[in-house]
Each structure stands twice: as C-alpha cells, then as structure tokens.
Symmetry: C2
C-alpha cells in the first residue's frame, strides 16, 4: 500500500522527464527510452508513464510516433510550418521565406528587461543582445523584428552565431544554446509604421502595420526572449485558430 501523496504520481513522473530535458539528457529530435523502460525506471505502471508523456505531448514538448518511439520535439525546419509563426500570405499557400540579420549589439538592460527576464542588475558589461531581423519572401520584405535575449543564456552570440537562412531562430536557440522556447504570449496592435519600418517594408510612412509584441518562455515559465515584430498586412496576415473540429 502506498502512502498518500500530495501530487499525482504521473505528474511527478512528468516533472522527472522535464528535469531530464532541462539537463539535456535527451536532445531535441532524439527518442526517449521506450515506455516499458520508463515504467521500470520510475517504478510505476506503463499507463502512468503514458499519462505523463501524454501531458508533455499536449504541451508540444514531446511527440509520439507509432512504431518508432517518443521524441523530444524539434522546432520545425525549413519547408514545414514554423511553430509559433502565424504569418501567412493572403493568397497562395504558405511559402518559404528568408531571415536576415540586420544588426546585433550588446545593451544594458532597462527596467522593462530586468522585469521580464528577472535579471540581476549589478554587472558592468551589457546584459542583453538586441538584434534586428528582416523576413522576406520572393525577394520582398514583409516583416522586420527587434529581438532581445539575455546574455547569460546566449554566451558568445555574434553575427556568426545567427546565420541568415530559412530556419526559425528558435531552432538555433535550441541547437546552439540548448534554449527551448515552449510557450509564447503575444500582444497585437495596429500602428502607423515608423519611418525605419516603412522603409524596410517598402511602405508609405504612416501606413498601418501589425505590431506583435512577444515574450517567449522556456520550462517553468522562465522568460528568455522578447521580440517586437512589424508586419505589413497588405500581402500577409496573422492567422489565429481556436478550438478543434468536433
């Protein structure tokens, strides 16, 4: 007979698995041990392991592939859809796009950054990296973004650490720095394009653009990225789907 427990067993197992992910015991794209082994490892029934894994599949941390195994989710690569990327062309299907780094520099954290990242503010040098990114498709820029990340998670980031290309920044975070963004919160505004944004997007000044202010979180709801994106919505729009087909 087992003593009464404060938290359900399967949640403890789930947290153990998350611990292993945080420790990078299993890398993105790699399979976990099979369910029977995990059951032995944690001294629980296989159904309990399945409940734990089910939770992590629901929150997109793991993916199950029948006949193959359970894998650490990898943020999508070129071709397939980008996770958390909701900008699509108004007509025509989803198309590949190009990401280009315009600039990068170190910065001292301001009050807002200290708050969102929970930084200690006593250090001498810069606390943050700030990047300017441009996204384009078919040779035409459709969005620019300002990306801010704390230095302590992205040591030695520089231009070479952020190659241009067509994969998501989050893929880079994951592969080069072990930073997994598993949750984002975005605030959307319609604003007039600033002169620099208008220029980058080939818009008339004061033309409306969609401003998306995002904060990205990793495990345990720790904020690790703050970005603001400006999108021209003449040829593109932001897509939101809520609810699942019944």
């Amino acid at each position: 007979m087992r003593a009464m427990r404060s938290t359900p067993l399967y949640k403890e197992v789930r947290d153990q698995i998350v611990q292993s992910l945080v420790r990078s015991e299993w890398q993105p794209g790699e399979p976990l041990p099979n369910e029977k082994e995990l059951a032995k490892r944690y001294f629980v029934a296989i159904s309990t392991v399945r409940a734990a894994i089910g939770d992590l599949v629901d929150s997109d941390v793991l993916v199950r592939k029948q006949g193959k195994g359970t894998f650490v989710n990898q943020h999508n690569f070129r071709g397939s859809r980008y996770r958390f990327f909701n900008v699509v062309p108004n007509r025509g299907s989803k198309e590949p796009f190009n990401r280009k780094l315009i600039s990068i520099r170190k910065e001292k954290a301001d009050a807002e950054a200290i708050r969102t990242f929970g930084l200690q503010t006593t250090r001498g040098g810069g606390d943050l990296y700030r990047m300017r990114i441009k996204l384009s498709a078919r040779g035409q820029a459709f969005a620019v973004a300002d990306v801010v990340v704390p230095i302590h998670l992205f040591k030695n980031l520089d231009v070479n650490g952020i190659p241009n290309g067509d994969e998501s920044l989050y893929t880079l975070y994951q592969q080069k720095y072990g930073v997994n963004i598993i949750r984002v919160v975005e605030q959307l505004y319609a604003v007039k394009a600033s002169s620099s944004v208008a220029k980058a997007l080939s818009l008339l000044p004061d033309e409306p653009v969609l401003e998306v202010r995002r904060i990205g979180y990793t495990f345990y709801d720790v904020a690790v990225e703050q970005r603001t994106t400006w999108i021209q919505t003449r040829d593109y729009h932001y897509l939101v789907t809520q609810g699942a087909p019944g």
Copy 2:
C-alpha cells in the same frame, strides 16, 4: 474476441456523444450521465469512456468537474472570460463590456457567403442576416463588428432576438438557436479606419485599427458565422497565447 475495427472504439464513443449533443439530448450547462453509466450504455470499459470524454474536454466541448460530473460546456457568461474573445485593455485587468446592436437586416447571399456557408442559392427572399454591433467599456466604444449568419439556422431573428447586454453573442446562439460555435479561424490585418469605423470608435480618419476577419464553425466543421471586427489598439490589444507552461 472482438472483430478488427477500422476506427478506435473510444473515437466511436466520442462520436456517439457528439451525436447526442447535436440532437440536444444534453443541453449546454447540463451534466452527462456519469462515466459508469456511459460505459454501460455503450458497452465499453470505463477507461474507454474516459478517453472519449478526454478528447471532447481537450476540444472544449465538455468540462469535467471532480465530484460533480461532466458537463456540456457553456459559453461564458458575464464576468468570466469570454471564449474566443481575445481583446483586453492595455492597462488594468479585464473589465466587463457592453454589446449593442446597431442595425440588422436581411440580405441576399453573395458569392463569398455562398461559399463559406455552402448555401443553396435558389431561394427568393434573403439568405442572410447582417448585423452591426458595437462593443464598449466604461462608456467608450472600443470595437465595432459586422456579423453575418445564414437565415436557415437563425429563423425569426430580429432586434428582440439580440438584446443588448454583456453576454457573448455565442451564448445567445447557443441558448436561443441551439447553435454551438466550437471553433473559429481568424485573419488579422492592420488597416486604416474607414470613416464609419473611425466615427464609431472616436478615432481620427485613417488612424490604424486592427481588422479581425473571423469564421465560426460548429460540429463537423460547418461554418455558421462570419464576422469582421475593427478594434482600436490605442487602449486595447489582441492577446494570443501559444503553448502551455512546461
């Protein structure tokens, strides 16, 4: 020994439950029979019923309340958060707002409406209702919307069928017409306010506003509402959360 089945048993049970919902055997807010009874009714194990219910809970059709029962989800009432309503004030917490019907009229369906609603176009009279709605908080309008629904689902809709108030339109659809919207798809654009929108929202003409084009679906992905909302994002924004805390 059971014969091989093409679809999993729990999915068949899930579809049976959906059937009952479509037939309104259980009304929104009402409890379903308990899990043991459902297991008897469908001749399956209780875990299979739980898997079926789990699916419907995941897609927000049902809600489980420990110690009480499993209920047909009811679109939220005043005070609590509205489902599918993602507009929140920039500062301060979520606040109650007022919905006001500005106008309503019958219309012949155009090509777009015929496509989205899959209408037969041979009838003589109007095929659609078109409503203009205004949303305000603290006496100040922050959004206006154009709502289009097919007549055949909303017979005898008129001004009295759409009282002003602070509950969601979807609550009305559900309670008065048995129409459950369980999924919405939205396209977001930043546009210049038209003169009528600017006037309604107390903006200067050509000021940027957020345009949200939504299609609402009921069971089996049948489209039942099309609406366009214009939101002023000086005092409000549109909130998107993706992913769950790990």
